[in-house]
Amino acid sequence: MDMHVLLFALFAVGAVASAVLTVTRRNPVASAMSLVAHFFMLSGLYLTLEAQFVAAVQVLVYAGAIMVLVVFVVMLLNLGNEHKLLERSSLRTVMGTLIAALFAVQVIITLLAHPTGVNALSPQAVTIGTTESIGQTLFTTYLFPFEAVSLLLLAALIGSVILAKRHVK
């Protein structure tokens, strides 16, 4: 069997399994660890798509920065009291889950008919995923959105400091 297909199957199964673990674990720390595993699996999937830079940034930003923040908050809040962690299932959550699952089934049925008709990676895929081409496009065509994102991050920084302050007067 082809190596590419094998790797895709491996990472896809890993990604789905760790995603399911993330939403089903009762303990938030176990959830967070499954989510870290999920980010690594996605990074592998990006590598099968020849997107090297996105794969590296995925590990650095998501598994590195965002998950550290989440785990830090989980530790800070110290959520014990096991019986309070039990989920109550109501008609609303059951209906929501069923409708969401129906959506996935619909998408899969649609895609099984092979509507895109694309079977192989584009020949340019190898060149567009490199750091050089990403950097060149980011600082020429996408320069304005890039600067706008820096403002967004500044606003988030100030907002989170204000929100987490002890006494807001």
Partner: protein, 103 residues
Amino acid sequence: MPTTIPLDWYLMLSAVLFVTGVIGVITRRNAIIIFMSLELMLNAVNLTMVSFSAYNGSIGGQMFVFFIMAVAAAEAAVGLAIVLALFRNKQTVYVDEVNVMKW
């Protein structure tokens, strides 16, 4: 088994991952786990973007992934600060126990 992977496989995978995130948001009570499910949904969309970009030979999809990551980082910082402020004021992170704006 084909020797190359059709685009549809990646799209199906990301649909399944997205719906897993949706189910997490709907069923869980812990605000932090709801938050992690949101990250799952954002990542499923990122996978769609990167696969379209690689199969189309266009770089736009990967650029969008960077902007989505920046928004996710901003959202993580503000969201967790809100959870902290919530815990400080109400001593809970369970979303069904926070109902002061419900009537």
